[in-house]
Symmetry: C2
Subunit: 332 residues, 2 copies
DNA sequence: TAAAATAACATTATCGATAATGATTAATGA
DNA sequence: TCATTAATCATTATCGATAATGTTATTTTA
């Protein structure tokens, strides 16, 4: 039952050099109570024997695993894929490994993922909550494990989070449709009503309308509960209102409706102005001039990791709530 | 320095119930040497106290971390994103967590990632090698850590791997361009010459030409060393040969040239038949009728994990080399 | 010059769980 | 009936590294 592969341990180096295990440990960790000469001997022997630290043992003793968990709905989503990539890179740069969890926006899976991460005693968690239930976030808060929310936030809980400037982003998009394309009836393909970013973007949508004295028409606002995993054109074909412009919660949703129009050979494909969100064109080429709201995903990832590491090192650190600036990228 | 957060341990349950730590462990692991009555008592107390297993301690003792590493060039690439997603899901279903590493196809980063995974004593590794150098794969082989290659394989090393049926996939694509579109000069936007999949797809390309008695023209074959991270249209604008059809190593490369043509307002965008590879349309909507070579990424992921787990449980298990069947998906 | 501080390494305890054995009682069997 | 076996729980050792504390010789300081 027990695994038999035996690696070189501190004990082996101790026996080979005549020092004690503790001295080996201190030497390899470059502690100041070991002379440079001894360190040199020990380092050489360690290299010679091909020593590799067993971080599991280290973690058990220190309480730190140097591992963070990233819990998102779906890393196959280009947005989360890009974020996960930058998070992993920046975390690695700081000596942390990254465990990923896909939740499919399912609160049950969120809970299990959080529990799994806690069992693994990760040092911290980056979490993008579905916000369908409060149980996962409650669980996380009670765990005392450092965490930062990604892309979404809870009004009722004061937690660290990093989001894009959703209100302003949506405002920019809609303002552009009105100002540049003279749109009057802007279809808003929004995300799930549960998530804060969808709520905030609705605020931005309304603010832009208000600025131009366009009355808000609720029937122009549609929701897509399952951002991912939904088959293309799923609910999109049921849209029953007239409109002269589209603002989509994400580029993914924008692409979905564009694909649908193209497949159906609808004229809309080439005639209707449309603005998405996330600017995934930056991460992958798209053969369509999709205007979009851009924000730096790399910056977002770096800040997330920075905050998390700060909290890991000092659990009492002040709460940080960051909004990544948004800008419009218009394409023709 | 030492982390202070104290969780409930077996010891606490032992004290609360009067049994020994060992009995608690056996009870919670449902070993058969503990009576059902005692198990019930222990389980209840464990639940009551909110016990959560410390897998770090467990791992140190058993030698198993129930964690696998996935080392790929870039999970922001839709192909790897989808694969990573399915791998994580299926691994989780089997009780394994997934650590990811992005290598950017850089052998140095590959090495560091492998070493990092080994230090973490992951139970197994899924690795998509850049194949630029042999050092990473050698390191992996010598480590004795179970691993399976993803998407690529080495002729000189007999290892487990799971790839798409590259030769046949390329054949299908090119045969389709010739048969259906009557193409005679097919531009092949291939991947890096180092990787086996690019080499194999070149074989398929040639085989299809041969079948139709079309002479092979080497100047029609272009390579893109950096599949990811390359700015769109990077080298694509330098294409200097005439052609009447395109086969791309990946949908990503196909989309890159399509985007370039569209931006440049080139007629090619609408007139040239093009076939990609990976059928990423299945994972995200694309507003262009991109024909592609499809294979089940979910199946690929499941097989990868199955093989890996089998090797983890039995390091002497026979080597498995699997080709996932490919098929053409033509779109108009 | 005696006391205090420092340098450099050793001893011992510990993280939390589990493997390898032991011990006790009850049940079974020849 | 006495030895065996089974059932059930306890003791002890261990995974590999590191924290906490000791020890000894050498300097430094008052």
């Amino acid at each position: 039952m027990k695994k038999v592969i035996t690696r070189i341990t501190l004990k082996d180096i101790a026996q080979a050099t005549g020092f004690t295990v503790n001295t080996i440990s201190h030497a390899l960790n470059d502690k100041k109570d070991i002379s440079e000469a001894t360190k040199e001997i020990i380092r050489n022997k360690a290299y010679e024997l091909g020593y590799m630290k067993n971080t599991v043992a280290s973690s058990l003793r220190t309480g730190y695993t140097r591992t963070i968990a990233v819990i998102v709905s779906d890393i196959a989503n280009p947005l989360f894929g890009a974020l996960a990539k930058y998070i992993e890179k920046y975390a690695a740069l700081n000596g942390y490994n990254t465990i990923i969890f896909n939740t499919d926006e399912d609160p049950k899976v969120e809970e299990l993922s959080i529990l799994s991460a806690l069992e693994k005693t990760v040092d911290g968690i980056i979490f993008c909550p579905s916000q369908r239930l409060l149980k996962p976030i409650k669980l996380l808060r009670e765990s005392k494990c450092p965490f930062v929310l990604l892309g979404r936030h809870f009004k009722q809980y004061k937690t660290d989070y990093v989001i894009s400037d959703d209100i302003n982003g949506a405002f920019l998009a809609v303002d552009h449709l009105i100002t540049y394309y003279k749109c009057k009836e802007i279809l808003f393909l929004n995300g799930s009503k549960y998530i804060s970013s969808a709520q905030d973007r609705l605020l931005g949508y309304k603010a832009a309308l208000e600025k131009h004295n366009i009355p808000f028409n609720n029937s122009l606002v549609k929701q897509f509960d399952v951002i991912t995993n939904g088959r293309p054109g799923n609910q999109i074909k049921d849209i029953d209102v007239s409109f002269d412009g589209v603002f989509a919660f994400s580029d993914l949703i924008a692409l979905r409706i564009l694909s649908y129009w193209r497949e159906q050979k609808l004229d809309l494909f080439n005639s209707i102005p449309i603005v998405g969100y996330d600017n995934i064109e930056k991460d992958m080429p798209i053969p369509y001039p999709l205007s979009s709201i851009d924000y730096s995903k790399q910056h977002m990832a770096n800040i997330l990791v920075d905050i998390l590491i700060k909290k890991i090192k000092d659990p009492e650190a002040a709460i940080v709530q960051e909004k990544i600036p948004t800008r419009l990228v218009s394409r023709f």
